[in-house]
């Protein structure tokens, strides 16, 4: 059954004393542990999302040879706090033609969809809130709530720009979900399971044991996943839904103040989540480069550090791509998805299946150097 954070912590001695403290109210203890870690993870992700906006501006400034934000705090690093305060204190304007109920609901749905994905994000081999059997499949499924929310955001505003942006993003999300899902499917095939624990336990060791270097097809699958993830999170060159030069600001044209802030927060956290999933599926996640038998909490924290480094490197690439490539046209967007990425992803899936049978599941490194 599912390994969880609590079942991981229960191997330590301090957990026994906690059990003694709570007596027979085990459920409450479990609840508080989850609540504590959920609060920590949400806080961490909100900080990463906030710093993401700062990093975005600073990196873009670097690419365009500007200075970027440098007034608030050292190197302007507290800019995101200033932005947050500004958003809270801004007036809340709602168009009088808007659908009020859906206008309130849309940012909330986006937050719910994004936060729910954090439950299965593998920070390290032990620190994963719930290592569900259906882990990666669950993550793909629940993140589709974001698609509904942006559509609603666009619809409820009753502004033409918002409506066009919302429709575009909803169709873009569902289209690019296909290549992403099929790429994830090929990793499921290689790992023999959908849970992050299973996937990560197969990638222990030096980089040649990562799934990206497992075989040529998995190598291509990583890029298919990454391009699809860029499109799903509405990043350039796929940022048509909020293309500033044609749609003003897309689905959140009419959103002001805190509600806009929640949309932006959900968007930046989602980028981090897809980068983290890419790191976990293809780049070995938080695995240490050598096999260890002892399991202590400092080592777990090192794993968290490795995972964060990989995910943030991918995050950097996402921002780098944004400020490098021009935007696509809508018809190009759709033809890239359906005529290039989807066939390539299916080809990768077939290739992976054939590779599994032909080489008995061995990776290229195993074949070259012997091993396992």
């Amino acid at each position: 059954m599912n390994q969880t954070l609590v079942s991981y912590l229960s191997q330590y001695e301090f957990y026994d004393s906690l059990i003694g403290l709570f007596g027979k109210h085990q459920g409450i203890l479990t609840f508080f542990i989850y609540l504590l870690f959920a609060a920590i993870i949400v806080g961490l992700c909100a900080t990463i999302g906030g710093l993401g906006t700062y990093a975005e501006r600073k990196i873009s400034a670097d690419i365009q040879q500007r200075i970027g934000p440098n007034r608030v705090g050292p190197y302007g690093i507290l800019q995101f706090l200033a932005d947050g305060v500004k958003m809270i204190t801004k007036e809340d304007v709602m168009p009088f033609t808007a659908d009020k109920f859906l206008f309130y609901l849309a940012p909330m749905l986006a937050l719910v969809g994004v936060f729910a994905t954090l439950a299965v994000l593998p920070w390290s081999s032990g620190f994963i809130m719930a290592d569900l059997n259906v882990g990666i499949f669950y993550l793909i499924a629940i993140s589709s709530l974001v698609g509904v929310s942006v559509f609603l955001g666009g619809y409820a505003s009753n502004s033409k720009w918002s409506m066009l942006g919302g429709m575009r993003w909803a169709s873009q999300i569902i289209s690019y979900e296909i290549p992403v899902t099929i790429s994830v499917l090929s990793i499921t095939l290689l790992a023999g399971g959908m849970s992050f624990g299973t996937i990560l336990s197969q990638q222990v060791g030096t980089p040649i044991h990562w799934f990206i270097f497992h075989n040529p097809f998995a190598f291509i699958a990583f890029f298919v996943y990454f391009i699809g993830a860029l499109a799903e999170t509405n990043r350039a060159p796929f940022d048509l839904p909020e293309a500033e030069s044609e749609l003003v600001s897309g689905y959140h044209t009419e959103y002001t103040g805190m509600r806009f802030g929640f949309f932006a927060l959900a968007e930046y956290i989602e980028v981090f989540v897809v980068c983290g999933v890419g790191a976990a599926l293809f780049l070995g996640g938080g695995n240490l480069p050598f096999n260890i038998t002892i399991d202590i909490i400092p080592l777990q924290l090192v794993q968290v550090g490795i995972f964060m480094t990989k995910a943030l490197l991918l995050y950097y690439v996402v921002i780098w791509v944004r400020w490098t490539f021009p935007r696509l046209r809508v018809d190009q967007l759709m033809s890239i998805c359906w005529k290039y990425l989807t066939p390539i992803a299916i080809f990768n899936l077939v290739g992976n299946a054939v590779w599994m049978v032909l080489f008995n599941g061995k990776s290229v490194a195993d074949l070259l150097f012997g091993g396992h």
């Binding site: 959920a38 809270i88 009088f96 936060f115 719930a130 429709m167 805190m258 929640f262 066939p343 008995n360």
Partner: protein, 136 residues
């Protein structure tokens, strides 16, 4: 299953609850702090300074619907493939790899036929299929 085994689902509910609470809290603080001076012009939908003409809720092109339909078919196919893919390695280790491969490939080949058909008939084109078909 024993009740304790369901605890893995608890974080999902907790995180969703945190999201809702966070939204409500942010909203509450914003109501306390933010100014509230509505005016008719401020609450008009933004159209670059022009008076908005009509509602934005107008009929949209059918192509979005077609994309949605094709998506659902692929979605269901991938849902069916997930359980088979996750036991593929196990079957392969037991020596049934060839059998699993044949089953898997024959399933995928039908999927490929579907995408090939849509491609050939122009349903995957965003613009072209509609321009061609509306011509006499």
């Amino acid at each position: 299953m024993t009740p304790a085994q369901f605890d893995g689902l608890m974080p999902i509910v907790i995180l969703m609850g945190i999201a809702i609470l966070m939204f409500a809290g942010g909203h509450f603080v914003s109501v306390l702090l933010a100014p509230k001076k509505p005016s008719h012009l401020k609450e008009t939908p933004y159209e670059c300074g022009e008076q908005p003409v009509g509602s934005a809720w107008s009929a949209f092109n059918v192509r979005f619907y077609v994309v949605g339909l094709i998506f659902i078919i692929f979605d269901v196919e991938s849902v069916l493939m997930f359980p088979v893919a996750s036991i593929f390695k196990e079957l392969n280790d037991m020596g049934n790899g060839g059998y699993a491969l044949i089953i898997f490939l024959s399933f995928i080949s039908v999927l490929i036929e579907g995408i090939a058909y849509c491609w050939k008939k122009g349903d995957l084109d965003w613009v072209k299929s509609f321009q061609v078909s509306t011509k006499k």
